[in-house]
Symmetry: C3
């Protein structure tokens, strides 16, 4: 088995090293169509070349960009063989920023810099922080985010590295967000976009129940997770877990919840920042995913007609909306995802 | 829940109003490939750019058009949030006409004009007739059809509108059909198309058992229905119906039956007219869909080598072919679909 | 039922006849994306336009080629209605050669020449050998292979044809393989490709356990098999076999095993030769497919930096790796596939 990748263990990471992930990926209209088949995605900017053009995004003969989360999943997928093959838990995200929309014809690859290491007191596991960058064929950074995971040690006797916990922004400010070049919502067509609610119509603290639900199937989450070239065994191999279930890739839940949030947030068109996120409970096939959102903050931007809105997006497997944690401060068992992101919306 | 779309109720429609549906959609080779993955579609004109070119359809650098039913599903899907979210039943179709093939790169949107209203005697529901038009990025009408649905009233006390039942053609004549510009079947390659049977070989009254069957799965019909951006809950949410089943989108059955009809009608290449259709019984996952056809009429056309054939296409969940209704005049329980359409075929 | 295709029976084949198969097929980024959604395919040359360019494959504005097995499945699928609709068993493959990579925009069709016939002693079946060629829109042969199948006689009284068993090469030599024009692995990026192991690192006789497994679902294999326009009933119709199971297309197992072999053979980039293959046992939904490989031979080639490696690829439904046959010389029940192919690899 010398030639197969057993993944990295905690002691294999060095602070400051940059891991160049394998298998670059070119996207086309195929990935775009599949995204729409896998999720009930309806944000007009990603559905229509004409709509994207009308808000200043399409230059030359390019069509609309691919969904921001498709970019995220592709970059994330590249990191799995090097970062999370031996991960015990995906602990968090921070400082996620989308720098450039991605278009059919773009080729993405990824690099991760190890920015933090901390062995756990049990001596068997440790936490690894990486800053991952997605790069296109021109080596422009299209996306970056920090992620930290708990990783097993391969050799329990391996010496603990010096602890370094990176300082991370708990929340990006609106000034930290990259605004896509040319974006202009001043002549935005609300009717074609699907809802009349503009940035000014949302109040901080407002909660929105997205009402709809989607029951997920094994074939679907595996199609998605393979499309993103995510190789984690637990998503595909029903013999990998003692109970015979396949764990659904957390990103599948993110995309499903984001797509469901169209109903009430149809104009929160582009995701540009990721402040944090927790995969609160595992999601299995047969679950009916529902979603609700809460407006956490709002800010103006320098782009014409464009406001920024900070949203909590919660995916659940049922229960009443707007319930997140129990009296013990822990996520309720029906909460699947608690995501904190910035989106761009017409004023 | 003020920001989510609860759909329109019967009293929300006004005779003559035009509803501009949301979320335009650009299609690519991705939608075309998915259509072939979702249905056993083999009509050569949609499978091969070269075949489409050989019958005069491909100008410039365009490839073959997308399946006519893909165009129908996309346009139909756009109308769901405005027309059928609170529909109790999909009652019928009429005067469906395909005006232009759609190609990779085209962006479709849809508009519906309310052409009829009739409150039911129970006072709780009413029938709404709409004429829906699919428009491309140049605002050309690519497709139109009339559809009527029974819709719940939101407020049972709402006053009944004046009844207006539109006059509809029970059947389109061959003269009503749009012939795609340039279409020429005079050098049609029957061998590449897959069957030797030409227009002249079919007799009015002839019945064809398409022999093959496809057992349908939850993941497949959801992928398809999402791809068409159809948002009706019952197709996706296993908690929406008391028995925990998901209702398969009627259009999925139409496409499956049409694809199965290749075996015996491989040369009925293009659908150009829809005279009527009934979703006779619901279709659920696990059903093995079969199909049979009956030749209802034939007509010559002005295009070189092109004949029109009017077909009944029946999808079933089993039983003997050619059985449609019981002695009570009602559809047999195994009949899923009874569709009446015009197709173009080489003479 | 006169108009439907009942398939050919043994007595319908004539030695030397060339069958021109129906339904040409144009591929796009859609087929490429679907291939990546259906299989955990990660070979960089097919995943990235940039990687393909870096090894000399992409001329003009073309992107990376489609997976070699996608080409194989499309060509194979075309042959099913004429060759294997009444086949009792798929007996073998030989002399398979990939002559040209296929790219988005290419249109494939297929022809098969009957090169052997032998009625079985029971008088009810016979073996048909065909040499199938896949042709692109310029009538270049992109792929050819010999396949033999056991086919039922339609009329048991039909006279036996003269027996002709073709002479086939048991194994292609490296000189028989076509090297893609321009292919140059001399500046190959092993890091981006995903593994450091080069041609020189593999020893004849070496065995590799590919470690990962994928549990397969009905929806997935049907999506794949439809995409290749393979019409064999047993893959789709759960009423076609007495036990209600659907038989998974053998090519689905080939592609799954080949994709799994990335882990340990990431640099065996292109398949260029098929020496033989056996679908040792049927594969059903719910099976967790695993794979192992054995290096059978190695050879140098005339292309810069390019070596050829002959591999046995075995797919299993479990059990220990590297076990193939029992003491009786028969395949073990957990062996699904035993494939013998040539691939190209950086020196």
């Amino acid at each position: 088995m010398a030639k197969t990748n057993r993944g990295r263990f905690f002691e294999d990471y060095r602070l400051g090293e940059v891991i160049r992930h394998a298998v670059p990926r070119t996207v086309s209209g195929g990935e775009r169509a599949l995204y729409h088949a896998l999720y009930p995605a309806r944000h007009a900017l990603y559905s229509s070349d004409e709509f994207a053009r009308s808000v200043g995004l399409v230059a030359d003969k390019k069509g609309a960009p691919l969904d921001d989360l498709a970019a995220f999943h592709i970059v994330f997928g590249k990191t799995v063989p090097d970062i999370s093959l031996n991960a015990v838990a995906n602990l968090g995200y921070a400082e996620g920023r989308w720098h450039l929309p991605i278009y059919a014809g773009d080729t993405l690859r990824a690099e991760s810099e190890v920015i933090g290491l901390k062995q756990n007191s049990n001596g068997k596991t440790g936490v690894v922080w990486v800053r991952t960058r997605g790069l296109n064929q021109r080596d422009d950074c299209v996306l970056e985010y920090v992620r930290w995971v708990m990783v097993r040690k391969g050799n329990p006797e391996a010496e603990a590295p010096e602890t370094h916990v990176p300082e991370l922004q708990p929340v990006l400010t609106a000034d930290d967000l990259a605004l896509p070049a040319g974006l202009d919502f001043s002549t935005y067509d609300f009717e074609l976009a699907g809802e009349p609610h503009r940035w000014g119509d949302y109040a901080i603290g407002e909660q929105i129940d997205h009402v709809d639900g989607v029951t997920v199937e094994e074939a679907e989450h595996m199609l998605a997770t393979r499309l993103w070239q995510n190789t984690a065994k637990v998503h595909f191999d029903s013999t990998a877990r003692p109970d015979g279930t396949r764990l659904i890739y957390g990103g599948h839940v993110i995309s499903m919840a984001r797509a469901l949030s169209f109903n009430g947030l149809a104009n929160a068109q582009m995701i540009v920042g990721l402040n944090g996120g927790a995969h609160a409970n595992p999601c299995l096939s047969g679950t009916t995913i529902r979603a609700w959102s809460e407006v956490l903050d709002k800010a103006e931007t320098a782009a014409p007609g464009v406001g920024a809105i900070r949203l909590r997006l919660v995916a659940t497997s049922g229960g009443a909306p707007f319930q997140l944690k129990g009296e013990d401060g822990k996520y309720l068992p029906e909460v699947l995802l608690d995501l904190d992101y910035w989106a761009l919306m017409p004023l």
